[in-house]
Chain length 267, copies 2
């Protein structure tokens, strides 16, 4: 049902959809809205954690490709969206305190503080549309599911208080198109870029490919290879592991819709 609703918003401009979200008229996932425009993962942290998190992102660029960092205390953005209010323009937020999810909200302006710093992180929605344009199938879209995501045994490079295991997403790719799936996504390093692993799931600590920790299992056909990309859930997993006092994130699938096109992420 959400997918059908969202078709109505595919051809709208990001600013117009953000306005509907801000008014509370959209409170569901943003999948498929504003076709061609990049959507972003959100992490908001108190300034005392901002250096460690920015350093974590620098040390783990495939997991945490930073699209923009706000000025301390600011809910506005300079580059990826005009006239945005980051505390109101996502359809659903989560607040974690000391690693525990303490609530979901459609507006976090009441929680805003002068010491909060906004981080927006690239999202695989951008490279999925590039894969489809290149005739590489994306199974979870075909099956109307969420992408399957797995916690690996790969340690992120720690930075200050932040550490944790890398989370990856998986797409089964027909063997003849695996190379193309690499080249297409490699051209978009700001949205996770090339795969982190191709083939045997157990090589990166995944025990059962049919039991993802996040999202949904998808069909893997004979003749297809499992291909794994770094995933924007990694920072949320790291927050749960590292337990900062206070953090705001988007709710999974409820992304920030930017004014920049996916194609602009190819430089």
């Amino acid at each position: 049902m959400e997918g059908i609703d969202n078709l109505k918003y595919a051809d709208m401009q990001p600013k117009a959809v953000r306005a509907l979200i801000r008014k509370g008229e959209i409170d569901w996932n943003t999948s498929g809205m504003c076709a061609g425009y990049a959507q972003a993962n959100l992490v908001v942290l108190p300034k005392k954690y901002a250096y460690d998190f920015l350093l974590f992102a620098q040390r783990n660029p495939k997991s945490c490709p930073v699209l923009e960092v706000g000025d301390t205390g600011s809910r506005a953005l300079r580059h990826i969206a005009k006239d945005a209010d980051i505390a109101k323009d996502l359809p659903k937020y989560r607040i974690y305190e000391k690693g525990i999810l303490t609530g979901e909200y459609t507006d976090v302006s009441g929680f805003w503080r002068d010491d909060l710093v906004v981080f927006l992180i690239g999202c695989s929605f951008s490279f999925e549309s590039a894969l489809l344009d290149a005739d590489v199938p994306v199974r979870h879209i075909e099956e109307g599911k969420n992408v399957p995501m797995y916690t690996t045994d790969i340690d992120c490079v720690p930075a200050g208080v932040f550490s944790g295991k890398m989370v990856v997403s998986m797409r089964p790719i027909p063997r003849g198109k695996v190379v193309r799936s690499v080249t297409v996504t490699a051209s978009m390093p700001r949205v996770h870029g090339s795969p982190i692993h191709i083939g045997d799931p157990s090589a990166i600590g995944i025990r059962d490919i049919n039991k993802p920790e996040f999202g949904d299992a998808v069909t893997i056909n004979e003749g297809e290879t499992t291909v794994f990309w770094c995933c924007g859930v990694t920072p949320q997993s790291v927050m749960m592991n590292s337990k900062p006092d206070f953090v705001i994130t988007h709710a999974p699938g409820h992304m920030f819709i930017t004014d920049i096109k996916n194609n602009d992420l190819k430089d």
Copy 2:
């Protein structure tokens, strides 16, 4: 003469050359040493400036592509060099206080403090060897000069206390090879990546192409186009503009030689 001396070090391993530098046996520029290995620009700042500078780098990735950030107070590195002592392993350092160059040193261990943070930034030496491998001529190397560098009228994106104009390097490229110069360097975003401008110098505020602010003027032949890349001198220019209390940098051309190959910067 330096160039001739440096040929002796072209086939040595980085660790061995760093050991000679640490002992004080090499105190000149590192151009051509350890062929195939990446060299890096150095910026060392007190922790109180580290977030602003890391944010500046994030907002200006073509000027300041960060290869590694050290842990606060540490002179060691985790990724781009093993057993390095960042306070001793560069042949020449500069110290700036409140934007003023107060000294040049071959060892800065006596100035080290527990609050200093090391930033290593990609260097165009890496993409120049890729250009030569692709049969794109590099004029200042042919002429035995330093690359010509210019301050543009392009503002870097400011971050906290740091702001300033972008500095670019220029290489004259035969018209038939301009496209190749773009594709070769675009594949190396961690060492400045693709050009920032192709053609008319005045379009980016350069008044006289024969009078670079840094480095040397080079010959521009009939049939060649001036091609401009972001330059690792930008952070030093920003330090002089923004005047932090204390900063250590490399002396121009006296780079840190890493253990990673230029080819490893292509992911």
